[in-house]
Symmetry: C2
Subunit: 382 residues, 2 copies
Amino acid sequence: MRILILGGDGYLGWPTAMHFAARGHEVWVVDNYLRRRMSLETSSEALLPSPNMQDRSALFEKLSGFQIRPIVGDLRSYEVMNSAFEQANPDAVIHYAEQPSAPYSMMGRDQARLTLQNNLDVTFNCIWAAIERNPGCHIITLATMGEYGTPNIDIEEGWIEISHRGRADRFLYPRAAGSLYHTTKILDTDLLWFYVRTYALQVTDLMQGPVYGLVTAESQASDQLLPNFHYDDIFGTVLNRFLVQAVVGAPLTVYGKGHQQRGYLNLVDTLRCVELAALTPPTAGELRIMNQFTEVFSVLALGEKVREAAADIGLEVKLEKIPNPRKEKEEHYYNPAHTGLTELGLKPTLLTQDRLVEMLRVVLRYSDRVDRRKIMPRVSWR
Amino acid sequence: MRILILGGDGYLGWPTAMHFAARGHEVWVVDNYLRRRMSLETSSEALLPSPNMQDRSALFEKLSGFQIRPIVGDLRSYEVMNSAFEQANPDAVIHYAEQPSAPYSMMGRDQARLTLQNNLDVTFNCIWAAIERNPGCHIITLATMGEYGTPNIDIEEGWIEISHRGRADRFLYPRAAGSLYHTTKILDTDLLWFYVRTYALQVTDLMQGPVYGLVTAESQASDQLLPNFHYDDIFGTVLNRFLVQAVVGAPLTVYGKGHQQRGYLNLVDTLRCVELAALTPPTAGELRIMNQFTEVFSVLALGEKVREAAADIGLEVKLEKIPNPRKEKEEHYYNPAHTGLTELGLKPTLLTQDRLVEMLRVVLRYSDRVDRRKIMPRVSWR
C-alpha cells in the first residue's frame, strides 16, 4: 500500500512510519517540527535528542533497506497538504498531525488558539485533499478516549443507540472532554462525520488511550531510531513519567486521589492497531470508530505496578499524591468497550511485570539525561 | 443593561440593536461587513440597500432619541474583540457574528474554510474576552435547530437523559447537521460547553429555526432602518423567498418533496427571545440551551399558506417542486420541544393569514427591486 503519514516526526508517527516501511509498504511522512518547537519553548524536551526526519530516514534505510520519504512542511497550508497527496497518491492517510498536549492547550489563550487552529485546519485540509484529489483513499485519524470523558454509563465504540420516549435512533456517542486539546478532537470527529456522510469518504477514527513504551521492533537496530520519549508534565504520558521517576529515585507523582481510570496501551499495539485499520478499510460513507486501548487501570494501580516492578530490580520507589492540576473526576464509573480492534486481529501486549522491568531497564540506560525540574506539573486548570 | 452585539449589521443583529436601545439599554454593535462582501461576491444582494452602521445609527438616534454605538472591525482579531469588550464592558454579549449561509458554506473549499475559521475564531475570541476581561458577563449565542438534524426521536432542548444498560446520565443532545455552516454551530456548542464548565462562564445557546419577516417596531420610523432582507438562494430563508416569489409572480420553489419540517419564527419573536434570555441570565457554569421557534411547518405547508394569503390580495401563485439541492431527508419524524422561552414569557407571533398578507404588502412596495435570477438554487451538495 501507499501510506501517507501526517505528523511523521512524532512519538507515534515515526515508529508507525518504520512499521509500515518494514512491511514493504511505500511510506511518506510529513511534519513541520511543531512539537519540537513547542517542547523547546516550554522547556519540555524529550529524553533523547532525535535526528531530524531526513537523517532518521537515511539511517533507517541504511540499516533496514526500507525507504521512508520525508516531506518538511506545515499541513495547515493547503498547498503543502495537496503536494503531499500528489507525491504519495495514498491508499491510506494516517493523521497524527495535531498539537497533542492537554496541559499545553490549557496554558493560556495563545496556546489554546494554536491548538484549536492547528488541529482543525490540518483535519480540514486532509478532508479536502481527499475530496479533491483522492476520494477513494482511507483516512485514519488518531482520536482519543478522552473525547468521551467519564460518563456514568458504559462507553461504546463511537456510536450509541438511544431509546427515548418510545422511539429509537443511532447517534455519535455523546462527548465531553477534560481539556481544550481533547475538545479539539471532538470537533475533528464532528467535522469528519459531516464530510463522511456528505461526500462518502472512508474514515476510521481510532479513539486511543494513553500510550506507553519506547522500543519497537524497528528501533532495535539503533537508538537513533527511537521515538521521542517525553516524561515531562506537558508532553509526557503518565506511565512514561512514572518509569522515569522510578529510575531517578523520585516519587511517582499521583494527581489527586489517583482513582481516575483510563484505558492504556503499549506503543507496539498502537502500530499494530493502525496497521489492522489500514488493511481493512471501511466502506464509502462510513465513519468507523474503534476504541484503541488494551487494559483499564487507575492511576494509583499503575503507580503500584511500577513500584513492584522497580523493586524487582532493586529500585526503591514511593508514590506521592499531589494536588490534581487537572479538572477531572477522581471517582467515577468507567466501562469502555474495546472489541473492534481485537475482532480485526489485535493480540494485546499486556502490561506484565516482565514488560515493566524491560522498560525500566531501557530508561535506566538514559537516567543521566533526566531533568527532574521537568516532571512536576507546571500548568493547572483546576 | 450594557449590551454588546457581535454581528450588529446583520438581518438579526441590527433590529436586535434597535430593540435593546429603544428599551433604554446601552448598546454597542460590532461588524466587519463580511455578509455584505459575501453577498456582493455571490451576486446575492439584499432586496434593499442598507446604510452602513454609522449612518443607520445616526438616523435611528435622530428619529428615536436612542443611541447605538457602532464599531467597525473583524472580531477574528482578538484586539478588536478585546477593544469592544473594553468599550462596552457588557452585562450581556449577543453573538451573531458568524457566516450564516448553508449554501455558501457548501460552494467549495475556500468558502468552507472561511465559514469554519470565521465562526470558530469569533466564538473563541468571545469566550476568551469573557474569561480575561469580564467573567461575570452573560454570553448569548445564536445557534440553530439545524444542529440537531432530523433524528427519529423527540428533540429536547439541548440536553438529554440517556438510559443505557441499566445506568443513566445527562448529555448534550446528539447533533448531526446538514451543511458545513450548521456543523460549525455544533463545534461552537462543543467549544462553549467545554469552557463553560471549566471556567464557570454563563452562556445561553439559542437554537433558532429559520426566521422570517422584515418590519419590527423600531423600523417603522423609516425604511432606512429595515434589516437587510435576503430572498436569494444563498442568504435568504425559505419563507422570505416565497414572499418575494409570490409578489413577482414566480412559482414558489419547493426543494424536493417539500415534506421537510422545520420550526419557524417571526423576526419580532427573535428579538423578544434574545431580550428574555438577557433579562434572566443563567448561573455561573451553566450552559442554558433553549429551542427558539414558535411553529413547525413542512416546506409544502408553508408554500400553501403563502399561496392562500397571496390569493387574498389578488395574486395568483403556483407551487413548483424542483430537485432538492441539499442533502437532507425529505420524509422524517420531527417533534422538537420548545417550552423554555415560553416559560420565560414569550408570547408567540404566529403565522396567521393576516400577518402573511401584511408581509406580502410590504414586499410588494419593493417588487421592482427583485432580481429573479437570484432566486433559483445555484449551489447543490446532493
